[in-house]
């Protein structure tokens, strides 16, 4: 029983880590809470659904394209809109991303309706039964890919020029600018990374969860809670927070039932903010 909860929680957690990593990056570097994030994830899911429905593509195959498209959208939004309000007060940036979310969510509702859809690819790994444990292999694969992408982000931030530039901008945008870094372009790249990851996470989630514009709120809440759990500004924190939240929700589902699972994350969020607003790992600066 415990092992099953562990498995379920880790699978969930891997997906959550990926949802949150891009969100945390944007928040940590740009100080923008992207209220559009949840809808972007759902859009990624729909992208995967379309690719499956009309071209028979498995979400894993469609993944790179979806990630690229999401990143492109993000770049456009940052360059065209958000770069104007980067230094603005919290209220302004929240309201702008909220407005964008309204537009995007409305568009999804118009385009796809509110009904839940699922992706049922013909190629499926099935379920492994080891001992008494049921391991849904498609989900496990999705979670692994999700964690891999999160790891890629970490690598990017550590090893690539862009990554170091992002970290520099995060630490001191003015100083970075004086060192020759085109700060506004880095902002665009950062936001694009965040949205690209969101879309990619959505594509993977489409394999696991039903798809509907109504899901965007829950994904956004997940992203928040993971950031607060794991600490802002750290990919490792997002990964750790994601895994923790996955485990917590897995336990909550067992004891309280599925409908309480999502509210668990919001209650946890409030509790965490009340006790340790800097998260369990604190603000360490992006690694």
């Amino acid at each position: 029983m415990l092992a099953q909860i562990l498995i379920n929680g880790l699978i969930l957690g891997g997906l959550y880590a990926c949802i949150a990593a891009g969100f945390s990056l944007v928040w940590g570097v740009l100080n923008i809470i992207n209220l559009l994030h949840g809808t972007l994830v759902v859009a990624g899911s729909y992208g995967a659904w379309l690719a499956w429905r009309y071209w028979g593509l498995h979400p894993l195959v469609a993944l790179p394209l979806i990630a690229l498209a999401s990143a492109g959208v993000g770049a456009a939004i940052q360059a065209g809109l958000l770069n104007r309000v980067v230094a603005a007060p919290v209220l302004i940036t929240l309201v702008v991303t909220f407005g964008l979310d309204l537009v995007a969510n409305n568009a999804l509702l118009l385009g796809f309706g509110a009904d839940y859809r699922s992706i049922r690819p013909t190629w499926t790994l099935g379920t492994a039964v080891i001992g008494g444990l049921r391991i849904p292999l498609d989900r496990a694969m999705a979670a692994s890919v999700a964690l891999a992408m999160t790891g890629l982000l970490w690598l990017l931030l550590r090893r690539s020029w862009l990554g170091r530039a992002i970290v520099a901008v995060r630490m001191d945008a003015d100083a970075a600018g004086m060192m020759g870094i085109r700060v506004r372009r880095v902002y665009v790249a950062t936001f694009a990374l965040g949205t690209g990851l969101a879309g990619a996470a959505g594509a993977l989630l489409g394999l696991v969860f039903p798809i509907s514009p109504l899901q965007s709120e829950a994904y956004l809440g997940t992203a928040f809670t993971v950031c607060v759990l794991g600490g802002l500004g750290s990919v490792v924190g997002a990964a750790a927070g994601g895994l923790m939240l996955g485990l917590i929700e897995s336990v909550a589902t067992l004891y309280f039932g599925a409908e309480y699972a999502s509210v668990t994350s919001f209650v946890l969020l409030i509790a965490l903010l009340a006790i340790r607003p800097d998260g369990l790992f604190g603000r360490q600066g992006f690694a």
Binding site: V90, L94, V96, F98, V103, E217, Y260, L269, I270, L273
Partner: protein
């Protein structure tokens, strides 16, 4: 000061005349305007004057609506039910404020939003008390539709007038000064001897006390509420947009913004129902990018 008094007198006269000269449509518009004014003025206390962007307005509205509905359902007189809505919301504001007001910036905003979501979930799951997702029916009022419309309008109008009075008193006095100091430099204000927690809590509780009755009256007017209606995220954001439209931190900004918003709602969006949210979203983005100080703010800067 004289212009202020004259303007208020004019508005009050118009408000009092409305039930007499206006038909049912005018009464409905008046009721909505009054409710919007209450919500926007309430948000402005903490969000506008102190600079703490609260997303908790819907929490107060919902608590007020359910409290009022339950009391009304138990046979209580309407004014009592409505007042109780205010008391309940004020209490919730006090408790929630205890937890979230020490947070700054984004964390405060997100926590206040999370409160709405959690309360909505509680209302959905506590079926015994609230009817859960199936909603709550209120006893139909023993009045004809016209008399009911007049009464509801009068009730919301009273709350709106009270809300504006609260804004005027707060803005002109010590609390408003304290909130403005907090907005500009909270640390310095504390160092100078201001109990910032108490000031913020007072503003938060006042805003809850205003929104609660508005929610309770709303419940009475629609006779059926469900969690998604009253703990609605749009409902928590729209007062922010109204206040931004009119002028954040000013007394009459929320009133002006509520009026403008209602105008837009009735003219533009009525024609675009399926894209209502998207149009609102575009408005919001344009507002935030180009008119962050609102109409009054622009007006002031033009004069200065």
């Amino acid at each position: 000061m004289r212009r202020l008094a004259a303007g208020m007198a004019l508005l009050l006269a118009a408000a009092a005349l409305l039930p007499i000269v206006g038909g049912p449509y005018a009464l409905r518009i008046g009721m909505m305007l009054a409710m919007y004014i209450s919500l926007a003025s309430s948000w402005n206390l903490l969000g506008g004057m102190a600079g703490y962007p609260s997303f908790a307005t819907a929490a107060f509205f919902g608590v007020g609506a359910y409290t009022g509905a339950l009391l009304q359902g138990a046979g209580g007189p309407l004014p009592l039910a409505w007042a109780a809505g205010g008391v309940a919301s004020a209490l919730v504001a006090f408790v929630v404020g205890w937890v979230v007001l020490p947070l700054r910036g984004h964390y405060f905003a997100i926590a206040s939003l999370a409160v709405v979501i959690v309360l909505r979930q509680i209302a959905t799951n506590w079926t015994d008390l609230t009817g859960g997702g199936m909603g709550l029916n209120l006893p139909v009022l023993a009045l004809g539709p016209e008399a009911q419309a007049r009464m509801i309008y009068a009730a919301q109008a009273v709350v709106a007038v009270l809300a504006t009075l609260v804004s005027v008193v707060v803005a002109g006095g010590r609390l408003g000064f304290s909130l403005r100091c907090i907005k500009q430099n909270e640390t310095a204000a504390g160092m100078l001897g201001l109990n910032t927690r108490a000031a913020k809590a007072t503003a938060f509780v006042l805003s809850g006390a205003i929104v609660g009755p508005a929610g309770a009256i709303y419940a009475s007017s629609v006779s059926y509420i469900e969690p998604g209606d009253v703990f609605d995220i749009l409902l928590t954001v729209e007062p922010i947009i109204m206040t931004m439209l009119g002028g954040v931190g000013t007394v009459f900004g929320p009133l002006l913004g509520a009026g403008l918003f209602l105008l837009l709602e009735q003219t533009v969006w009525a024609s675009f129902l399926s894209v209502h949210a998207a149009v609102l979203g575009v408005l919001v983005v344009v507002l935030a990018l180009f008119l962050p100080d609102g109409v009054l703010g622009r007006f002031r800067r033009a004069r200065a």
